[in-house]
Symmetry: C2
Subunit: 418 residues, 2 copies
């Protein structure tokens, strides 16, 4: 019968142990308001790593790291094949919650415990990965560890990036490697599959009253920065006809883009004007320079290309447009998706189908091995916030679905077709 | 013959001495880029005061101060009547030029020198006033010294205001009074007239190719702060229909106000959205709170009242509106305006007629005594900037017109009708 071993291991997932693991990790960088501030490679984050490493060793794992300080907890398989990997990240936003990333890591640890309790050794090895600096709130860009894992040459560039205190990534990595000098640094080995379990960080699953989603892929993204130039001048003495008001120009650019985007199917569209800088930013001075950012996401590469055209059309003598970051839409592996649906059906979970609007380490891993994700609901869609919450029963269901899926993948006689 | 004494004194105005005085004052707080940073009551500004006081004493003046650290250089008249007063301020914007305010003070000093050279004693005393903290860039609000002069009870409130370093105005005033403890503090005495000479700080005179303006009054003003509330959320995971984007809301509020204002006569209108604060101001987070300011000016009190109504109509559950500052339009004294035109005619100066869009100490003085202003052109309309510049011949013409007007007012047998 299909998924027998997977269902068996799922039965050993323990809700209380999962919640205890989440609570234990949340103590590293705990804020008074119930949130967590655990920035990548800070002393507190290194303490959390030490705690996780001890736990992994207790569970019988070998522990590896790599040049970008990703961690790998490896549970041996019956054969020395490329491993089936799960995991996520443990760095947080400055005022984050205790689930974003952490849930994927702790659910991976729970899966290792469940395998031990079930007394099962899978055919392929199992690994739980902890990807370095996914949030990008200490060092830009985000998803840095998984990015450098799949394309190691990127690390050379990242090494010179500095945090707000002026510390380079190279210095921060040195500290980490010195503290964990007992660990073997391993190059990026082939993986049979990567399955990431994460909170949705949006309101869709809760609104649909679904406990879990099989994630089809990740929306493509553009980050643009628009700089509108004007002439700073006195708000009282400069007649309206003589003004070059950078804020009025920026307002028009924003309205134009909103209007054009409104013609696109709203379901798949995300458009956000999140960061604004106005100079000189004085109540009685006309703005001489306004810089704002756009975050545009869509699952359709053609729509993203259309948006790139619009941004070029916006460019003028007074409007400078720079693309800060671009990523093509990612479609997850079809064979893995089928396995996920088979597991959710076998576990009688009424799973939704979703495309992720957020980045995840899985975005990069998809270029390295067959990859996919599960989402559990986020209460009120809130994330990056101490109020981040998911019903414990959904956290447990997610871990069960993950356990089932990983076990089946690890026991398959043949690998997944990339 | 009309204005004989005034024209005579004007003939003693010396361009080089005027420019030397401006250059000497600009050394206090000189910036490498040619600008000046001389914040009210800082050690550098106190040095500038000491230099001015010495100069005034050399010119034969008595020197007085008052509780708000305004300075008065008094040249005795033939009779002990309320004085005819000129002057402006010597504090600057953080990156200001060497003319804003300073020109009015140094032209006053040049007038005292010219009177000495001409050997003329006017009927009424002449005073040159240096008003404390006109720019308001160290302590809010601006025009603080003249404001507290005309209504001394305001000082009690101002005393607790703090600069960016947390120093209270009371502490800063104490330093100043201690350094100049030899000066007599004088209450606000009646004045026969106040005539302020200032740069236009706008482009109108240069565009009209006029060397001087007789200023009719000062536009009324409203400073509003608008706070738009939204729900901060992830830019990728939150569908457009589920968003409460504070930036989109703010953009709509701005567009609505711009649209309504566009229906008003543009000549007299000033509308500026100068200061913006976006929270959390992250590229990939929907804005949860956007605060922006409006600076609205008009010479017609009915239009200002109409604008107040619009701001109230903007208010909603998600849009909070607060009036930060309001000032009614000021019309300068008709008898003084007639004297100004008589002087410019006698001196064959082709003077324009203007309403000031900027605040000046004259705005407050108008409630204390008959008040008026002269403007000279600002090259390219630039002010609050190291590039602030006025053609030296216009600076001289302005000082001559001021000298003529002050002399005539000081010699008039009867006072000006308030």
């Amino acid at each position: 019968m299909l998924n027998t071993a997977g269902i068996e291991v799922s039965g050993f997932i323990r809700q209380q142990r999962l919640l205890d693991g989440l609570a234990a990790l949340a103590r590293f960088g705990a804020l008074e308001n119930g949130g967590v501030n655990r920035q990548a490679l800070t002393p507190i984050e290194l303490d959390a790593r030490a705690w996780l490493i001890d736990w992994a060793i207790t569970l019988g794992c070998e522990v590896f790291t790599d040049p970008c300080a990703n961690l790998f907890f490896r549970r041996a398989g019956r054969e020395d094949l490329p491993p089936v990997v799960t995991g996520s990240h443990i760095d947080t936003q400055p005022g984050g919650g205790n689930l974003d990333g952490c849930y994927g890591v702790i659910a991976g640890m729970e899966y290792l415990s469940a395998l031990n309790d079930a007394g099962i050794t899978t055919r392929r090895p199992i690994e739980v990965a902890v990807w370095m600096n996914e949030e990008g709130s200490r060092f830009a860009p985000g998803a840095m560890g998984s990015s450098a894992f799949v394309q190691p040459s990127r690390l050379t560039d990242y090494l010179t990036h500095r945090d707000a205190q002026g510390i380079t990534l190279a210095e921060a990595l040195d500290c980490c490697h010195q503290r964990f000098s007992m660990l073997t640094q391993r190059p990026a080995l082939p993986m049979a599959a990567f399955v990431e379990l994460h909170i949705e960080q949006g309101p869709v699953l809760e609104r649909q009253d679904k406990p879990l989603a099989v994630v089809q892929g990740i929306q493509g993204l553009r980050w643009y920065q628009v700089t509108c130039l004007g002439q700073p001048a006195h708000a009282g003495t400069t007649p309206m006809a003589d003004r070059r008001d950078a804020m009025t120009l920026a307002r028009r650019c924003m309205a134009q883009l909103e209007q054009r985007a409104a013609a696109l199917p709203a379901e798949e569209l995300r458009l956000t004007f999140g960061r604004w800088e106005v100079e000189p930013n004085a109540i009685n001075t006309i703005a001489g320079r306004v810089t704002f950012t756009l975050d545009f996401r869509h699952a359709d590469a053609r729509v993203l290309a259309q948006f790139d055209d619009w941004m070029q059309e916006l460019t003028s003598e007074d409007v400078q447009v720079a693309c800060l970051f671009a990523h093509a839409p990612v479609a997850f592996n079809a064979q893995l998706l089928a396995q996920q649906y088979a597991c959710t059906q076998a576990l009688e979970i009424d799973a939704a189908t979703l495309t992720s609007g957020a980045f995840h380490d899985a975005m990069h891993l998809a270029s390295h091995c067959p990859t996919t994700m599960f989402f559990v609901p986020s209460h009120n869609g809130i994330s990056h916030n101490p109020a981040e919450h998911t019903d414990p029963q959904y956290l447990t269901l997610g871990a069960k679905a993950l356990a089932c899926c990983l076990t089946e993948l690890a026991n398959q006689p043949t690998g997944v077709t990339p």
